[in-house]
């Protein structure tokens, strides 16, 4: 895939929960190496949008493509490929509580990528280094702070070398200090050229790190544009109000 081509394409996506239309014709594109921040009030559909890109929800209309593979339709044969291409980090970390930090990371490496145990362990140590938690390799999730758990979750995704990383409000459950350490890791990743889509409440982080900001409102992309431009000249009253309330 040449530089500059879209890694993620979302076109006219419609997502309904029963009678409720949560996403109503949403579209945007993410270019390799870009960091995209999806912002909006709760209930605006931003988390659902991310879950659709991750293939966790089936969509009722439109198209989603990740690395040229279709996503979001039931029985999609490209599912295994999607799992190879996309890493997901959750608000609630979702580490496996009965496994050590190391095994949390090596589990998918050995089961999915069929790497030998030793090679997987080396990789685990490597990615833990990237998030600054080398010394916690033998710990269990419950022995870590929320921020540390979230960094392990990031390392776990990172170990699989995804093309795109998705972050779903990964700091919402954390205290301010712990938030900072997680955002630090993410900022670092962005600088290394990782393609990232992050749903976030952290406007400071969005302004500083994101290349592109998507403002969701009532299930639609209300405003979209390069970060600096968008924050300097909000076109809609809703975004102006949102930015004002978040400050």
């Amino acid at each position: 895939m040449p530089e500059g081509e879209a890694v993620v394409r979302v076109r006219d996506v419609i997502k309904e929960f029963g009678p409720l239309r949560v996403l109503d014709g949403v579209g945007f594109e993410v270019v390799r190496g870009q960091t995209v921040a999806i912002v909006g009030r709760s209930g605006s559909g931003k988390s659902t949008l991310l879950r659709c890109v991750a293939g966790l929800e089936t969509i009722q209309g439109g198209e989603i493509e990740v690395c040229s593979h279709p996503v979001g339709r039931p029985g999609s044969a490209a599912r295994a490929q999607l799992r190879r291409d996309v890493g997901m980090v959750f608000q609630s970390y979702n580490l496996f509580p009965h496994l050590t930090v190391e095994r949390n990371i090596t589990l998918a490496l050995t089961l999915v990528k069929k790497q030998p145990r030793e090679e997987a362990k080396k990789r685990a140590a490597e990615v833990l280094g990237l998030v600054g938690l080398t010394d916690k390799i033998g710990a269990y999730p419950e022995q870590l702070s929320g921020g540390q758990q979230q960094r392990v979750a990031i390392a776990r995704s990172l170990a699989l070398q995804p093309q795109v990383m998705l972050f779903d409000e990964v700091t919402s459950a954390l205290d301010p200090e712990l938030t900072a350490e997680v955002l630090g890791v993410m900022e670092d990743l962005a600088q290394r050229g990782m393609t990232m889509i992050t749903v976030t409440h952290e406007m400071g982080f969005a302004r500083r790190v994101a290349d592109l900001v998507v403002f969701m409102h009532k299930g639609k992309v209300w405003e979209i544009g390069p970060t600096a431009e968008l924050f300097a000249n909000p076109r809609t009253a809703e975004f102006r109000q949102f930015v004002g309330s978040e400050l």
Partner: protein, 227 residues
């Protein structure tokens, strides 16, 4: 009270009791292992299966849990043989105990599996694990850890309930007792002895289950905290 207790028969008959206890152990270990397997599969079907499968498992569980083990044993041993399927007393015992154990295990494991949050499944999915890998590595062990006390109690109860298989003359501990008391007429003494052996077996099973728990649940062994 003029009754004189007389345990002299033990000198001659103790090997019978040992043999009976050994058969009790064999029957119950086999039934516990098989019943746990049946119950776990049924619990998975009950939680993740389609409506028809869930219904079938539901009927199985209710039918077994609301009828006596004694009748279940009679149906397997006398009933099936009258229909042409002749099983030995020991095999009948294992079949009946397994079917019984399976129903109770289903209910216990179902609670454990349902306690695993959906987000754990999503995380496993996002890491690319298949459904089967997710169940084996992410669901079953923590589910089992959460309900392990209830499971252990049920296993011990099954061991005690296996005494009922004496009614189809499976030559386990209780049947041995019945035999010895009819030879010696020291009924009360015989059953006192057997009660003590069962108490010892209960303690042994509890200890073994505790040790198995230590091996299975590494996190718990190291941290000592509940999951």
């Amino acid at each position: 009270m003029s009754y004189k207790f007389d345990f002299e028969f033990l000198a001659e008959r103790w090997p019978d009791f040992v043999a009976g206890a050994w058969l009790t152990i064999q029957l119950t270990v086999a039934s516990i292992a098989l019943g746990f397997l049946v119950g776990t599969v049924c619990a998975l079907a009950r939680v993740y299966g389609g409506p028809v499968l869930r219904r079938i498992v539901g009927v199985y569980v209710e039918a077994i849990r609301n009828t006596p083990l004694l009748i279940q044993i009679f149906i397997v041993y006398f009933g099936l043989s009258s229909l042409g399927l002749k099983l030995s007393a020991e095999v009948s015992a294992i079949v009946a105990l397994t079917v019984n154990m399976g129903a109770y295990t289903t209910e216990i494991m179902r609670a454990g599996i349902q306690s695993i949050q959906r987000t754990q499944l999503e995380a496993a999915d996002c890491l690319g694990l298949t459904r089967l890998q997710t169940i084996l590595h992410v669901v079953l062990l923590p589910a089992m850890e959460r309900v392990y006390p209830a499971l252990s109690s049920q296993f011990v109860l099954l061991m005690l309930a296996s005494s009922i298989t004496s009614q189809i003359s499976a030559e386990e501990l209780t049947a041995t007792a019945n035999l010895v008391q009819s030879d010696t007429y020291r009924s009360f003494e015989v059953y006192v002895i057997v009660a003590v052996v069962y108490l010892a077996l209960s303690a042994l099973y509890r200890f073994a289950l505790w040790a198995i728990g230590l091996v299975l649940f590494e996190r718990r062994r190291r941290l000592g905290t509940p999951l």
